[in-house]
């Protein structure tokens, strides 16, 4: 596979924390190539390092050693300003607890990344509406998160992650706070989004059956190491 085809490439990535005397190897020498357009499910038990690895790919954290190459730049070497731009323009993030801002309406929550990316005011309403309609919330734009069900909140969070048209969508336990039926519908939505040309999805989960149904590649982590990088299915 040519290098330009890889959306994300991890080369001997380690992330260590020191707690007093002890060194915690949250991510330990992980290498992984992820071609553009894949839907990778990152499986593992609690504390296996899968969320830490996701944060490294998200540009929220920097590796202790090794390189994280995404969008043709080495995230371990760019400035924090560049890293912020990468988070703004290249990746979208979805969390287990949705992380919508409670005092803002759905519209305003989804507009937030557009504000940060300095998108023209006149272009914003159409893009917000488009993103919310895509996740099936076109009629609830003026509602606040607390007025919605968990599944709807997660859909809104996905709309917010997509509004800046990223190439990579990162999801950290997106179904963790949802019942199984709702979780399935969220994963179906992600699968739908994957069909966008060039969209790469990395999802952290510990629900293997769901991952097997929707992702086209499974990687398994344990104690910070990549136990299996899975083959494309």
């Amino acid at each position: 596979m040519p290098a330009s085809q890889a959306a994300i490439r991890l080369e001997h990535v380690s992330r260590h924390y020191t707690m007093g005397e002890a060194v915690i190897r949250a991510v330990d020498d992980v290498s992984l190539d992820l071609p553009s357009g894949e839907f990778l499910a990152l499986l593992g038990s609690s504390g296996s390092g899968k969320s830490t690895l996701l944060n490294l790919i998200a540009g929220l954290d920097r590796p202790t050693s090794g390189s994280v190459i995404a969008n043709n730049q080495d995230l371990s070497k760019v400035s924090s300003l560049e890293l912020a731009r990468y988070r703004r323009q290249t990746v979208g993030m979805v969390f287990q607890s949705f992380n919508l801002l409670p005092r803002m309406t759905l519209e305003e929550n989804v507009e937030l990344p557009l504000r940060l990316a300095e998108v023209d005011r006149s272009d914003r309403p159409a893009r917000v509406r488009e993103a919310l309609e895509r996740v099936g919330l076109g009629k609830r734009v003026t509602h606040r998160p607390s007025e919605l069900s968990g599944g709807e909140q997660q859909r809104a969070a996905i709309a917010r992650a997509l509004v800046n048209r990223p190439k990579i969508l990162l999801a950290d336990e997106p179904t963790g706070n949802l019942d199984s039926a709702t979780g399935e519908s969220i994963l179906a939505l992600l699968k739908e989004i994957q069909k966008n040309p060039g969209m790469t999805i990395v999802m952290v989960t510990h629900e293997r059956p769901l991952a097997e149904r929707f992702a086209n590649r499974l990687a398994i982590m344990g104690d910070g190491k990549l136990l299996s990088n899975g083959a494309s299915r």
């Binding site: 944060n55 998200a58 929220l60 954290d61 924090s80 300003l81 912020a84 731009r85 990468y86 988070r87 703004r88 323009q89 993030m93 969390f95 992380n99 801002l101 005092r103 937030l112 990344p113 504000r115 940060l116 990316a117 300095e118 005011r121 917010r160 800046n164």
Partner: protein, 453 residues
Amino acid sequence: MKSRDLSDLALRNLREAILRNSLTTLGIAVGVASLVAMVSLGAGLQQLASKRLSQSGLFDSVFVTPKMNLRGMGREAAPAPSDKPPRLLDEAARQEISRLPNVIEVFPQVRFFTEVRYDGKPYATMVAGMPESSKASGSFDGMQGSFFSSAGANETILQSEFAKELSPQTSTLIGKELVLRYAERQSLPSNAPNSSVPTSPNSESLPGGFSVVPKEMHLRIVGVVDTEPASGFGGFGNGRLLIPLQVALTLRAAQVNDLRDIVRGTSSTPTFASLTVRAKGPAYVEALEVSIKNMGFGAFSLLDASKSLTTFFKVLDILLGIFGSLALFVATLGIVNTLVMAVLERRREIGVLKALGAADGDVKQLFFVEAGVMGLFGGILGVFLGWLIGRALNFGTNFYLHRRELPSVEISSVPWWLVLFAIGFAIAVSLAAGLYPASRAARLNPVEALRYE
């Protein structure tokens, strides 16, 4: 982030914790109010003092005396090399001085001690000539009656202390007549040195002595004044019976320097004991003083006293400002506290913003703008509160003065520069207070912030 989005979000955040942010803003307002009240008190007192002093006419005047006068009689001080030779202070000198730039007028000081008869009883008093310009100086504000009807009118204005001697009901004096008895100076013709016969006016250029002839003049009382417009400077005491200067000059009453001139035998022309030169404004006084000294006269002004007065008020302003700022300093601790709490409370939100692509600078600016907005509102409210405090001080002072039947004053004044300075200062102080919380928010690790519940 664009500034409009930044201020949108900042205002939104401020509204979300409306009670806490309002209390913090009120704290700033109280601080600014105390600063404004203190400084406005200083500014008001300064305005009051300088108004009073400029009305006195002392600060735009140069007082000219013959040089020998300053050195005293019989003693010849060695003149400094740069000194011009002393000159006589006569009519020619007066004309010359009045031609100097920025001079409004030059008038002699005419004062003499004499006797006045009113209602058949004699009273001793000091007579002073008042120039026309003194009408506008403010010294005659609030007088009973009116100013002289013309520069040459045979009218008089009495100083109220003296008026009370004539009649306890001073207002009844206006319109009455009194008789001024004075000694007229008459030059002696050289061919008749011992004659006491009055001679023609043009004979005064002749050398020789003079005789003193008692004369009388009827004056109508037109006004009574409380202040002492002719009080002490280059004179021999307070004028208590004021007459138009032009009238005073025609009286040719004997003055102290007449005798001295004769003793010295320096000149036959009449000289002035002193001249008062009024400049267009205090700014011209210094240059004028130098020019007059260069002409060979003694010159003196109260400019130096005025300068030290200005310095005094500057220091007073600074001291009052420092006291006022103490409350503002306490208010900044309130801002720091509020914003540090906000950073703790909004950790998760900051984490979300960073995950969505906010740079450290965006987060820092957001908190900075929040601090600045609190400073702006606190500043505006504070200026208003300070102005109210000033009004209250004015009201209280004037209430007290009114009960003592004294004229009202403005002791507190809020000039435009103070309004702008106070609001600017409030914003600057708030931004400084926001520095630490803002950088703390910016440094927040997004991974930890997102994990925070």
